[in-house]
Amino acid sequence: MEQPRTPGRAFAGMEPLAAGLVCAAGVELLVLRTFTRTAVHIPGIEALAGPYNVVADFGRFAYYLSVVLLIAALPALAWRLWRSGDLAARVAGVVVVAFIAAAGGARWGIVSGYWIDAASIGAVLLLAAVGPSFAPWRQAAVAGAFAAAFALSGTHSLAQTATDPSLRFDSGGLLTPAEVAALLFALGTPLLVMRQPVRKEWLIAGAAAVLAYAVFAGNPWTTRILLLWNAGLSGSFPSVVYGAAAGAFTLTVVALFRDGRRLEAFGLLLLLGGGIGLHSTYQTGLVVAGAGLFLAGASAMRPGRAPARSAVIVTEPRGRAQARVAVATPRPSSSPR
């Protein structure tokens, strides 16, 4: 029997860079976007100005590192998408390059804020649109839900900033569908886990769900404002929904890592780091990279290119000295070079 190959081998080389980006963006999200914004609520923080400044500077460094890694990762991703040969993947590669150009143009004042906003929405939508042609339907659906949330929320911003009065409309109504789509995205991610999750995964996911619920129920205002700043969500639904979404998302990411589907997991985490709606070209960049990596990783899972599905018996030594039997999906090779 052919040895199962790592998924998306054409993109396997992206893994170290993607891992670095996820780590840097994660630290940035936790320290800069979350800790320093809530530190003012910590009693007695004024007395700890020294340690606080060190932590804040560390967070800022993580931000710059994340930006640098993103600048490196996006062209690398585009190059590999192009090289994969698949037409849809090539379109995706072009989209990524177009986004880099637009973001650069915006930074140097060549592209106006309105056009980079429109380009961002377009890029995310396009990536999701080409998804079905080179990734399986589950991945395409998950990416589509995210892109819909991103586009709905982004369109609200566009409607507020258009200089042409004819493009202005009362767009506040788009935010609730955006929230619904974002929640569907998170709640839908377990579709990607094409097996029965094991107990450890359930436990981790359950802990994440309970934690998210507790944070929501315990300090709803701070949590919601952070969610709005960090991820563009209003947090207007009952806390239990966000708890469930956090649990579902965690379950998927943990399971994907355990199955060696690291690129997809990295992609999902980057989508989380970027959030929905328009915040900055950095956060949109995280979304573009996330969507690209997610779909690239998923391309390997496409039934059309994979060996026929068969049950593989995986035996792993378990704690109770008992061989545990699990059914895993074969890990197919990526698209041809």
């Binding site: 939508l125 004819s166 701070t222």
Partner: protein
């Protein structure tokens, strides 16, 4: 042996690449050069030929408003507010002065704070201080990144009340002295008590409870209450006199947030309706002529191409799926 060598070589290459990334990131941080661009909702201040100081000035007619949602302040003590759901903001600049016009619906006109139970309608703008290296906490700033707040108060605009105007039948035979010294807060230099400062106070803050008057008080403001709506215009010269205050220049961007107090709801201090930060862009170019429709046309083309590519993608997907089943 070969495998080990390859491993070491790959490792070395990764370490080298990592080191480069770290150095570049450190350099960017040191230089403060942020390669990313903010994409939050932008309030653009276009140059104006007419003087926009009055809320009903015709200069405001063509300035496009952004609608900023407001929520109750519920994060920290003295929470409350939320009776004003949204505020409409416009901005212009004229002769190197920034003008911001805010408009909101408020059924009650609360201009007097003569009685202990009366609170004033008010509105404020918050900017990051010039010294802030990162976007400060919207909640009154933070220790390492202060905010500059301009607060307009209806009661300050109305002036100091006299006991005889509050209570026409009141009789006070005489006051031993009416010198400023005996208006204690005024004598202590408190801008709240100083009628000379006018309707707008220029304040700085570095976290809760630290709100203090800025070193200079040169922010002007004028509010008009008409048909159940307040319209207030703030103005200040571009140059911020010190690092604790905001500074503006044509062609740059900064952050701006709003807060509204509804006096009849008992709003004051943290009890207010607040927004998040949005981007304020000071445009060097004139407002593009209205009715050009360029944006609309290009957007339509973009939308159509998006639809086309989506259809192509779905088509390819279906094709690929069939192929997969037959193989």
């Amino acid at each position: 042996m070969n495998a080990l060598r390859t491993f070491i070589q790959t490792r070395r290459r990764m370490l080298a690449a990592g080191a480069v990334f770290l150095v570049v990131a450190g350099f960017l941080q040191f230089a403060g050069a942020n390669p990313a661009q903010s994409q939050t909702i932008t309030l653009t201040a276009y140059p104006s030929d007419a003087d926009p100081a009055a809320p009903d000035s015709k200069a405001w007619k063509d300035a496009l408003p952004i609608a900023v949602p407001l929520t109750a302040q519920a994060g920290t003590y003295a929470a409350g507010g939320g009776s004003i759901p949204t505020i409409s903001a416009r901005a212009l600049h004229h002769k190197d002065q920034l003008y911001v016009r805010l408009e909101w619906t408020d059924a009650t006109d609360d201009e007097s704070t003569a009685r202990v139970q009366d609170f004033s309608d008010a509105v404020a703008i918050e900017f990051p201080a010039r010294a802030a290296t990162s976007v400060p906490s919207i909640c009154m700033g933070q220790a390492d990144a202060g905010v500059n707040i301009w607060q307009w108060r209806a009661d300050s605009q109305a002036g100091i009340p006299e006991v005889t105007t509050i209570h026409p039948n009141a009789l006070v035979e005489s006051y031993p002295s009416t010198e400023d010294l005996f208006f204690t807060a005024r004598a202590a230099g408190n801008p709240v008590a100083n009628p000379a400062i006018g309707a707008v106070q220029n304040l700085i803050s570095r976290t809760f409870g630290t709100l203090s008057p800025a070193a200079t008080q040169q922010v002007l403001g004028k509010g008009v209450y008409k048909d159940g709506k307040w319209s207030v215009v703030f103005s200040r010269p571009f140059a911020g006199p010190d690092v604790d205050q905001a500074s503006f220049s044509s062609g740059t961007k900064t952050d701006i947030a709003f807060a509204v107090w509804n006096g009849s709801e008992g709003d004051r201090n943290g009890r207010k309706s607040v927004s998040a930060f949005v981007t304020l862009s000071i445009s060097a170019q004139k407002l593009p002529g209205t009715g050009g429709g360029n944006d609309a046309m290009v957007l339509t083309i973009a939308l159509l191409s998006l639809l086309g590519i989506t259809a192509l993608g779905v088509g390819l997907a279906v094709y690929g799926y069939r192929e997969g089943r037959t193989s």
